[in-house]
């Protein structure tokens, strides 16, 4: 194959484990195209993941990779970044991994504004363990632990990250694949904590119980519930219910954590030398 993103694969691991039509494969492709467009070497990229379907990504790519404990991708990534700030650290998390089990780590990484790119694959369900509802399952949708409909409100990851102090926040969906490649590229090049949430399809665990049995039906549904941010802002309140805005929510330049740490170290050492 002359598809040039295959240079990043651990080819002996393919075909991959994800179900037919799973959005994680589409996101992996976008991510590799974005990394390729930055021109980074394989050895300077570190990819860290937690537990879940999405976290299998690190097994298929030929970067420095690490598959860590559930929800703790960001603490491990923070350690790697602090030890060697020259590395490009990317974390890949699922919706349950990021917003439920690792929710606390997520907001504190955003608060520190450490230079990590967090990619959140939001398939709205715990896919690997059999379809339990997650903090990002939309209200009213079914899950194996919510057979009469989910009564919880779902998190708005983009608003959460923006208010917690991140520098770049965007949301895309797997249907608009060129847009997510663009968002991931901007997030990778951003100095500071950057978050890209991607709404993905899960035809098996989410789709089967919600009458969206095929990958095609799921993608059509995702296409129907997502609207561009500027269109969403103009919609009347009653039409906003059940729709998810996509686009860039935040893009600011604020001081980055490892740089501030280095500055502090330099200042203290300077003071000691002068004594």
């Amino acid at each position: 194959m002359n598809n040039s993103i295959t240079q990043y694969f651990r080819k002996e691991m393919f075909p991959h484990i994800w179900c037919p039509g799973c959005g994680i494969g589409i996101i992996l492709g976008s991510m590799l195209r974005a990394i390729q467009s930055t021109g980074w070497e394989k050895d300077e990229v570190v990819m860290v993941s937690g537990i879940g379907c999405s976290s299998r990504i690190t097994g298929y790519v030929d970067f420095n990779t690490m598959n860590t404990t559930h929800g703790r991708a960001l603490p491990f990534a923070t350690g790697i970044k602090m030890a060697n700030p020259a590395l490009k650290v990317i974390t890949v998390m699922g919706d349950g991994d990021c917003a439920a089990i690792g929710g606390n780590h997520f907001i504190h990484s955003a608060r520190r504004n450490i230079d990590i790119t967090a990619i959140i694959i939001n398939n709205m369900i715990y896919g690997m363990t059999g379809g339990q509802y997650s903090p990002l399952t939309p209200t009213g949708k079914l899950g194996s632990t919510a057979p009469y409909g989910n009564i919880d409100q779902s998190f708005d990851i983009a608003a959460l990250a923006a208010s917690a102090g991140a520098s770049y926040v965007a949301r895309g969906n797997v249907f608009d694949v060129n847009q997510i490649t663009h968002f991931i590229k901007k997030a990778l090049l951003k100095k500071g904590f950057s978050v890209v949430e991607i709404i993905a399809d899960c035809p098996i665990s989410f789709g089967r119980i919600n009458q969206l049995r095929t990958p095609v039906q799921m993608l059509e549904w995702i296409k129907s519930i997502t609207v561009a941010k500027r269109v969403w802002e103009g919609l009347p309140e009653e039409e906003k219910a059940g729709k998810i805005p996509t686009g860039e929510f935040l893009d600011i330049d604020i001081p980055e954590y490892t740089e501030k740490y280095q500055e502090t170290c330099n200042r203290i050492q300077q003071g000691r030398r002068e004594k």
């Binding site: 194959m1 002359n2 598809n3 993103i5 295959t6 694969f9 393919f14 075909p15 991959h16 994800w18 179900c19 037919p20 039509g21 799973c22 959005g23 994680i24 494969g25 589409i26 492709g29 976008s30 797997v174 249907f175 694949v177 060129n178 035809p203 095929t214 990958p215 095609v216 993608l219």
Partner: protein
């Protein structure tokens, strides 16, 4: 196992479409969302580039393929092709 065995190649003078049937899981995304309806499902459910002459190289099948199984390449134009296409022979 020789992985090259199930690589299907479809081509005409402008386009080469390859389908790696070892990696394809027959999800049908490429077939349904092709804007020119180039691809059809074969008896095993794998995509087959039946109407390859309609392909406009938008690459959406390749970009949306979750299994990295389909690949579209635009053939570099040969001089003969450009001459024929633009009617420059006269």
């Amino acid at each position: 196992m020789d992985k090259k065995n199930n690589l299907k190649v479809y081509q005409n003078e402008k386009t080469v479409i390859t389908v790696n049937e070892d990696w394809c899981k027959s999800c049908g995304i490429c077939i349904h969302f092709c804007p020119k309806k180039v691809l059809v499902s074969n008896e095993k459910g794998f995509p087959e580039a039946k109407n390859i002459d309609d392909c406009i190289h938008c690459m959406l099948c390749e970009l949306r393929c979750p299994d990295f199984a389909i690949n579209v390449e635009k053939k570099e134009k040969t001089v003969e092709h450009i001459v024929n296409q633009k009617g420059l022979e006269d």
